[in-house]
């Protein structure tokens, strides 16, 4: 049982005009096996939260704490956070020309586990996970994210989540830009990892659609860089009916 604890997190982003505050005191506690949906309008700071947790250098933490089982995450470098058990499925995965998917996956798995995976079992594991995500085996020979369609990129992100088995996975708008079939495949992948591991999931989304496939235990509404309202799955239903207007009006008042 692990706990990811975010306390009064304040983050600014570097812009040409200087540091611009985006997160204004985020409080969130996620336990193993839990699924938390973070919902909010564009510009509310959802992705900033995701990238800050992963340690992207563009985002400067100006206050607050993030701990994983009591250990200071913010003091860790990006790769150390991943090895500690954090995983970020990115909204816009980065192309790495000339690095094959198979080489990338093996290198990442070796880094996370601290040792190379046993060859035979690893090949089988990749094949199984790719099959389940309806990915062609030849996909392994392609360069990471290069020339991938939107759906392929997202499936590749979830493939990594399945193989790397993080303690906590942050899914940053994994549903954006996916058609219904791709959304179902990706969601099934997430649910498979949830059912076979004790992963805690932070599901960041603009839309409620993915919540039909992945049931959250908690829903947090994110507005203006902090959690404005929290509830159970029923809060998502309400957002689907009402949209974010209620929160935006409150924020502007």
């Amino acid at each position: 049982m692990s706990t990811l604890e975010i306390r009064d997190l304040r983050v600014s982003v570097e812009t040409k005009e200087g540091l611009k505050p985006i997160l204004n005191g985020v409080d969130l506690t996620i336990g193993s096996g839990e699924t938390h949906a973070i919902m909010g309008p564009n510009g509310s700071g959802k992705s900033t939260l995701a990238y800050s947790l992963a340690g992207h250098p563009k985002y400067k933490v100006t206050g607050g704490t993030v701990t994983l089982d009591g250990v200071d995450v913010l003091a860790m470098k990006v790769d150390e956070r991943a090895r500690a058990g954090l995983f970020l499925a990115m909204q816009y995965p980065v192309e790495v020309p000339g690095v094959s998917v198979s080489n990338f996956l093996r290198t990442a798995k070796t880094a996370i586990d601290g040792q190379a995976p046993p060859l035979r079992g690893w090949v089988k594991e990749i094949r199984g996970a790719m099959d389940a995500l309806r990915m062609d085996p030849e996909f392994q020979e392609r360069s990471v994210n290069e020339g991938f369609s939107g759906g392929e990129k997202k499936r590749h992100e979830i493939l990594q989540m399945e193989l790397l088995k993080p303690k906590f996975a942050i899914l940053d708008e994994t549903d954006s830009g996916l058609d219904v079939d791709a959304l179902r495949i990706v969601s099934e992948g997430v649910n498979r990892v949830k059912s076979t591991t004790d992963v805690g999931v932070l599901l960041i989304t603009h839309y409620t659609r993915i919540l039909r496939y992945i049931t959250p235990d908690f829903v947090h509404v994110f507005v203006d860089g902090h959690v404005a309202e929290e509830g159970g799955p029923e809060l998502a239903d309400r957002l689907e009916d009402e949209g974010y207007d209620r929160f935006l009006a409150a924020a502007q008042a």
Partner: protein, 416 residues
């Protein structure tokens, strides 16, 4: 991280560098403007026809000519590199050639003073001759090793009609060396030529490869320049007849203080020939400097030409400089295609973030990216044992240079 200069549509008569300049993607240098046509630059077997360069000349403007005094001086050099010659298969000979004969068998006259002096002072040539209709199954590797000497060299590679061969010329050790390599590819012959510059520190190497392709001939030339203090290796290719195809690939990796320069000139002087040029370089460390100049001339007679050249540079640290100058001159509108691209980018921190976020340590992530940058060129060689060896050499180069990071050198963080 890349910007492309425009691909020229059929029949266009000028090159478009506007985007590249706007993006500062590649330098067009400073100094005098180029001559009216690349064709007007002199070629001569007579060293005195080329005045001693001072560094302002178009072909020398990126070169530290003060470091090349020995190879530019028209003086005797008494050293010789040690030639490591393999057992030669049937149809292949290596022989010494007298100076007069060497000039007669050289396919193009030298294009600059260093090259002309090398020819004059080499005292004849070594000729690797592959008889017509010889198909070699194995690569032929010749190793030229320096032990600190001052040497001039003249090499003839002559591939007879209908032959197929892979020839590897490897330079290593330490030397002050200038060299003219003449490559003749006979009608319908195929030559895969790999030139490895694996010099130790302290080496100055100035060379020129001049090539001529017969009718329907195929030349794949790969230049790999990793070692040496100053290496300047120019290539000039031309066509004896129509239907030939030339692929020139280059891979270079400059560390602190190294100057690695490659200038190319493809003279499309025959109809329906094809050329592709792809050079890629990585730079790292204070004073690392690379130069790539790619000139392509499509003469009026060269109808049906298809050409594309590109240069990519990956700048890994501050303090390194990549100059990249593509030039395309077109004298006929009746071509199949002509284009060029040049891009110089910094190491992409988003790639680093992506890989790191999967637990991969920074040093390993950089290695993956740099290896990935070069891997297509390595595989293009098409000879597995050479590819494997080359990947090993790049790996060694990476470990050497990556140790700078391990020692805590500051890495600039540029945010996209």
């Amino acid at each position: 991280m890349t910007t492309e200069t425009g691909e020229l549509s059929k029949g266009s008569l000028s090159t478009d560098h506007s985007r590249a300049i706007a993006d500062q993607a590649h330098s067009h240098g400073v100094g005098p403007s180029p001559e009216s046509s690349r064709a007007s630059r002199p070629r001569s077997f007579v060293a005195d026809d080329f005045p001693l360069p001072i560094g302002r000349e178009e072909e020398w403007r990126f070169t530290p000519v003060d470091r090349l005094a020995r190879v530019l001086a028209d003086e005797p050099a008494d050293g010789h590199l040690a030639w490591g010659i393999p057992n030669l298969p049937a149809g292949v000979t290596i022989s010494e050639v007298t100076p007069d004969d060497a000039i007669r068998r050289t396919v193009q006259a030298p294009g600059d003073r260093a090259s002309a002096v090398a020819l004059k002072r080499a005292g004849g040539a070594m000729a690797l001759t592959i008889a017509p209709s010889t198909v070699l199954d194995e690569p032929l590797t010749i190793r030229l090793t320096g032990a600190g000497e001052d040497a001039r060299g003249h090499v003839l590679i002559e591939v007879g009609a209908d032959s197929e061969a892979v020839v590897v010329i490897e330079h290593d050790g330490v030397a002050t060396y200038s060299e003219l390599v003449s490559v003749s590819v006979g009608d319908n012959a195929g030559l895969n030529l790999v030139l490895l510059q694996l010099w130790d520190a302290g080496t100055v190497h100035v060379g020129e490869v001049v090539a001529r392709l017969g009718r329907d001939a195929r030349l794949r030339g790969t230049v790999v320049t990793l070692g040496g203090d100053v290496v300047r290796l120019n290539t000039a290719a031309t066509f004896a007849d129509e239907g030939a195809s030339v692929d020139l690939h280059g891979l270079y990796f400059a560390d602190a203080g190294q100057h690695l320069e490659h200038q190319l000139f493809i003279d499309h002087n025959a109809p329906r020939c094809r050329s592709r040029v792809t050079y890629k370089g990585a730079l790292q460390g204070q004073g690392a400097h690379t130069v790539w100049v790619g000139d392509v001339l499509i003469r009026a007679i060269a109808e049906g030409t298809n050409t594309y050249e590109q240069n990519r540079n990956l700048v890994l640290t501050d303090g390194a400089r990549a100059d990249s100058v593509p030039n395309l001159e077109i004298e006929t509108g009746l071509i199949e295609g002509a284009g060029h691209a040049s891009a110089t980018g910094r190491f992409d921190d988003e790639q680093l973030f992506y890989l790191s976020s999967r637990g991969i340590p920074e040093i390993e992530a950089r290695r993956l990216v740099v290896r990935g940058f070069f891997v297509d060129l390595v595989h293009a060689i098409g000879v597995p044992e050479i590819e494997a060896r080359l990947l090993g050499l790049i790996e060694a180069e990476l470990s050497k240079s990556m140790s700078e990071f391990r020692e805590g050198a500051s890495i600039p963080v540029a945010i996209a």
